[in-house]
Symmetry: C2
């Protein structure tokens, strides 16, 4: 294999695929980047077993010749330090030749000779059945991920909670995540889709983070192909294949369909800022409990630390309470993340008492999102 390539195109490609590479993969060969070169295009591949990514660079686009293919071929490049070497290359054009695992990278006055991997050892990427497909706008997909992923469990004993549950049924798409202390559910009606399309899958958190990085701040559409145990995202020149989490996601109907006795409306920013300030008093402590004391016309946001002291802020709210006041203890971090996910000017709060769940949603109904927090018991 021998070619010259424009530095910025090559750099973008290797950066994108190298993201999935694990520093300690089960198979050493997965530390490498597979490069496949034909006269028409270069394909870069990388994988960490769970996720596999393919990135395509056309030899020529409308504007310019990107790759000068001197000899077609396949090779596995090392990924370690490789991106930095490309990034800091002094010339705009890089000449690369690969022969028997030896890779030579050079321009006028600089030359690297680096050790590649045996290309025959690189695993074949799984093919996905292209029968089942939906198309989502990047903006919507990004929002579905961003507004649920923070509720997935970490280092949990239940791996099933380390993903986001995506369900499609009768044009209703639900994304839901819970770590069993809090829950986020985001719903979107897909008008332009055939009614009989349906799935119920759990996508690993890590895979969603990669997808987010690719589509964030980009406009356009993502093609999604799904089958039993695998999903494929195609966006522009990137293909992104993910092994799904196996199993049945826990049923959350009982908590989602709960009836509440009290209703409160509050300004999002004031509520967020009060929690943010008041929780400074115990910010380095394990326990980040915020005590809310809600009345019909105001909410006291209170926190304390044995070492430092107490903090309290009053926020105006409009309550319809069945009781004089409600006291409830919640996690400052969870409250802040829930308010950020709702992202509306005003928030509607539903709650029943100190031991019952605490539900929040946008007051303006512009977006169908529900955030549920379980109270913290302090003894």
């Amino acid at each position: 294999m021998k070619f010259t390539i424009k530095k910025n195109y090559f750099l973008e490609g290797v950066t994108q695929v190298a993201r999935v590479i694990s520093p300690t993969p089960v198979f050493q060969i997965l530390k490498g980047i597979k490069v496949e070169l034909t006269k028409e295009k270069m394909t870069l591949k990388a994988s960490d077993s769970l996720v596999s990514v393919e990135y395509e660079i056309k030899a020529k686009n409308d504007k310019e010749q990107i790759i000068e293919v001197i000899e077609e071929g396949e090779s596995v490049f090392p990924s370690k330090n490789f991106i930095d070497i490309i990034r800091k290359f002094p010339s705009n054009e890089i000449q690369i030749e690969s022969l028997n695992k030896k890779i030579n990278i050079k321009s006028e006055n600089i030359e690297f000779n680096i050790q590649g991997y045996e290309e025959g050892e690189y695993p074949e990427f799984p093919e996905i059945n292209k029968e089942n497909k939906i198309i989502l706008e990047t903006k919507l997909l990004n929002s579905l991920i961003k507004e649920t992923i923070f509720c997935t469990a970490s280092n949990n004993q239940r791996p099933i909670l380390e993903g986001v549950n995506f369900k499609l049924n009768k044009r209703i798409l639900d994304a839901l995540a819970t770590d069993s202390y809090r829950l986020s559910k985001r719903r979107e009606i897909l008008k332009d889709i055939e009614k009989e399309k349906s799935f119920n899958i759990i996508i690993p958190k890590k895979a969603l983070q990669y997808v987010q990085r690719i589509i964030e701040q980009k406009s356009g559409f993502v093609e999604i192909f799904y089958e039993n145990n695998r999903i494929l995202f195609i966006f522009e020149n990137i293909k992104y294949s993910v092994l799904l989490i196996n199993g049945n996601y826990p049923n959350t109907d009982s908590i989602l369909k709960k009836e509440y006795e009290n209703l409160i409306e509050i300004d999002s920013k004031n509520f967020y800022d009060a929690i943010d300030r008041v929780s400074l008093i115990n910010k380095d402590e394990k326990n980040d409990v915020i005590k809310l004391n809600i009345r019909n016309d105001n909410m006291k946001v209170h926190s304390s630390s044995k070492e430092l002291g107490t903090a309290e802020e009053e926020v105006f709210c409009e309550g319809k309470l069945n009781t004089e006041e409600i006291k409830i203890n919640l996690s400052a971090k969870y409250l802040k993340e829930a308010i950020q996910a709702i992202n509306s000017e005003k928030i509607k709060i539903k709650c029943s008492g100190p031991l019952s769940s605490f539900e929040m949603e946008p007051a303006d109904n512009k977006k169908d999102i529900i955030q549920i927090l379980l109270p913290i018991r302090t003894y």
Copy 2:
């Protein structure tokens, strides 16, 4: 003590003094910030025993009333989380009252009650004799520190090398640091100073880093008072007192006055970039050896890694060599830091051979600075 204060002035003050506070001081009281309030001004004090800082806020400046003094007094505030509390305070004016170690901080709708320290326990700051004084421009002082401090030793068995040696004698001011593998010496002639003024002191690296942060990117003059074991920096409204390192700094004359057989001139940027690129090949390895192969008209910059391979770049240079070529092994990191400190378009290199020291200085003589590196022996 009771007062209201404009948030931004108070925030700037507590931020500046809190920098010196150690998270694990010998005396618990040194976790606090001493606040002294009179009708005219507030003085904030903090210390970590080695360095002590005082910051003054006038009650009123030309433009506005900054502090409304309701009751004079002294108090020791906690520093932990305190800056964040002030930074995130919602109003521009903060009301603070301190009584019997209880500190109340509030504005309209928010209130913190925090625990202070016993003010009687706060140590008196040492007074310095104001007899011996020099005045330096912030720009010059910053340059003297920046161009030597990186050569001080870290976690060394010789604490004396963990500071910069400042010597004044017959209007010649020398700043010198060495970790025994490399050396940086910066000289400046102080024209406006009395000839008989002299000192020979070692200022701890940590103290110089604080001074740097205060004067960086500011113009003006720093007053410096010195005595046997202590130095005081005064800049604007900040006083900064430092305990010096005791002992005699090692004599470096033998290495500084060495004669060299060969002279080379090279473009700084090309030299730096070549080292930067070539050293990517072993950047995560312990050993960051760069091999230089110098001839009269070019220098080969070479590096290798067992794991990854080799890298080589050729840089044009103008040599006056007494031999056909010189090969020498040097640390990539040390070379890069030395080139940055010299900071001139072209560099003059002096060297004798693979086992002899390697000296660099600016080719344009705009600044009197010498960088010396010892070669690395590879077996």
